[in-house]
């Protein structure tokens, strides 16, 4: 099939060209920028070589430190809560047959809505003066809270939004996993007199491990990229209490126009993520080969 060589290339090249022009080239551009200081003189960019100076600044950047720490707290706490609540609800509601389409519609809805609108909705609900959460607190006879303005509370408020946003989807994935487990193992365990806790601990959890891992990884990736909701809810504040890594890059690169330094920060984040992925793939490669 000699003539097919042409088509073999023609079908793959559009994707290759797009990736080359819009991912590889920008990456090289960022790399070049990261060794320079860029000044704007008469709408012309003037690059000044600064070597590794931009990278040397990274560890001393308090905003970056706050951003990295908050991103980590945000991702770990939010994803852990989503998985836990989702898993419990999935355990409680397996084998519900009626109303499946309705429930599935409801639980998919939040992830199809723009993040920025999730932020808008919750910003209104969190409002100190008229938000529904404070109305509820007042009705219960409790003091209203400044959900987004209180530095001690803001990160938690943002996490609550994310838990609301993503728990339904975790629930759906975990439920699908639970329902695909073979019934006969549980029948056998029951006959052997295993308690419900023993069944959960020794059968359900081990069998569910792949589903749990997939859901976890999927959510962690998105949690590390969080930007939209926080942009609208708090803009990273008050102070640095909800500063996340995407925000720090945005601020340094665009708001403050520190192009070279922002590029160095981007490169560092990309390098950390790439290293993480490669390490994770290496670690699971052995298992994958066996399976």
């Amino acid at each position: 099939m000699k003539s097919d060589t042409f088509w073999r290339h023609a079908t793959l090249w559009p994707a290759l060209v797009l990736f080359a022009l819009l991912t590889i080239l920008p990456l090289l551009k960022l790399l070049a920028l990261s060794f320079h200081d860029v000044e704007w003189v008469n709408r012309e960019a003037v690059w000044e070589w600064v070597g590794l100076a931009n990278y040397a600044r990274l560890p001393q950047d308090n905003l970056l430190r706050a951003g990295a720490l908050n991103t980590l707290i945000f991702a770990v706490v939010a994803v852990a809560l989503q998985m836990l609540i989702g898993f419990i609800l999935a355990l409680l509601t397996t084998r519900v047959v009626r109303g499946r389409v309705f429930y599935r519609t409801v639980f998919i809805l939040p992830i199809l809505v723009p993040g920025i609108i999730i932020g808008a909705i919750w910003k209104l609900m969190y409002s100190y003066d008229f938000g529904v959460l404070n109305s509820l607190l007042l009705w219960l006879g409790l003091a209203p809270q400044d959900w987004l303005g209180d530095p001690d509370l803001a990160l938690l408020s943002v996490i609550i939004v994310d838990v609301w946003h993503w728990t339904p989807f975790c629930f759906l994935l975990l439920l699908a996993g639970l329902e695909s487990l073979p019934d006969d193992i549980f029948e056998a365990a029951k006959i052997d007199g295993a308690t419900r806790w023993q069944q959960l601990r020794h059968i359900t959890l081990p069998l569910m491990l792949p589903t749990i891992a997939v859901t976890f990884v999927f959510r962690m990736i998105l949690a590390f990229k969080v930007f939209d909701e926080i942009y609208l809810l708090t803009g990273g504040g008050p102070g640095t209490s909800t500063e996340v890594i995407s925000f720090t890059i945005y601020r340094r690169f665009f708001t403050e126009d520190q192009t070279g330094y922002g590029a160095a920060m981007s490169i560092a984040v990309i390098a950390v993520i790439a290293a993480g992925i490669i390490a994770a793939t290496r670690a699971t490669a052995g298992k994958g080969a066996k399976a």
Binding site: D4, L91, R98, I116, A120
Partner: protein, 293 residues
Amino acid sequence: MTHAADTQAPLAASRRRFSLSEGQVSVIRHLVLMSFALVVLFPFFWIVSAAFKTQIDLLMGHILFEPNLDGFINVIFDKTSDFLRNFGNSMVIGAVSTFLVLVIATLAAFSLYRLQWPGWVLHSLLGWSVIFHMVPPITLAGAWYSMFRSVGLDNTYSGIILAHTTLHLPMALWMMGVFVRDVPKELVEAAQIDGAKVPRILWHVVLPIVRPGLAATGILTFIFSWNEFPVVLVLSQRQTATVPLGIGKYAQENTIAFTEMAAASTLSILPAFLLLLFAQRFIVRGLTSGAVK
């Protein structure tokens, strides 16, 4: 809710003690699911009701109110409102980038899985798209901005469409990969032996089989493009601004027009909501094949 067993055990125990029937257990399950569904839906009810309130009703926290369309009217018809333009921009950018993503991803998936590329090509392309997909888009947005500026593509539909196409290509590539692998190799080989060229094979053999996959991938790509925020924030100005940018603007004004913000949010949810109602099976299939695998 700290331990799965704590919530399960009492249920099991009570079932033994009072010997709940299957019917009663099912009622409890529905109660749990119903409460969960209410928690998920409540913010949507609240924002829709806020959109129909006057600013005073909203600020006073009135639960009962006379529905009022001012918020919607201001958002749609007011001369200072960009909402309709944003809506149109989102439609154009979403539709064109989805079309490009589908064409490029389907061709590439077919090429990779059915046209005998060496393993390293497959693995390095997929590996790179995984890395690119996991990196926060904001990291590359700056480079895109300055590249587009130097070729005159900043603040143009073409620039944003290119960026969105690239952004959603990895996901589409995996999803279409899953669907293309449903095309039997023998079928492709038989067609090749009969002398059919690749375009004919794509059109007559592959396309009919992957059509549901195209629908699933297309719907999700469109929704993700519609929702995308950080990249348009960097790349577009007023003329090319999309819906999320418009909503973001409301929140940044000194005196926030709450009812308009609520009305605009309500309208912006509609496309995803309608797709979810009328094309749910495609969305579910897309989410289970692409997002997860």
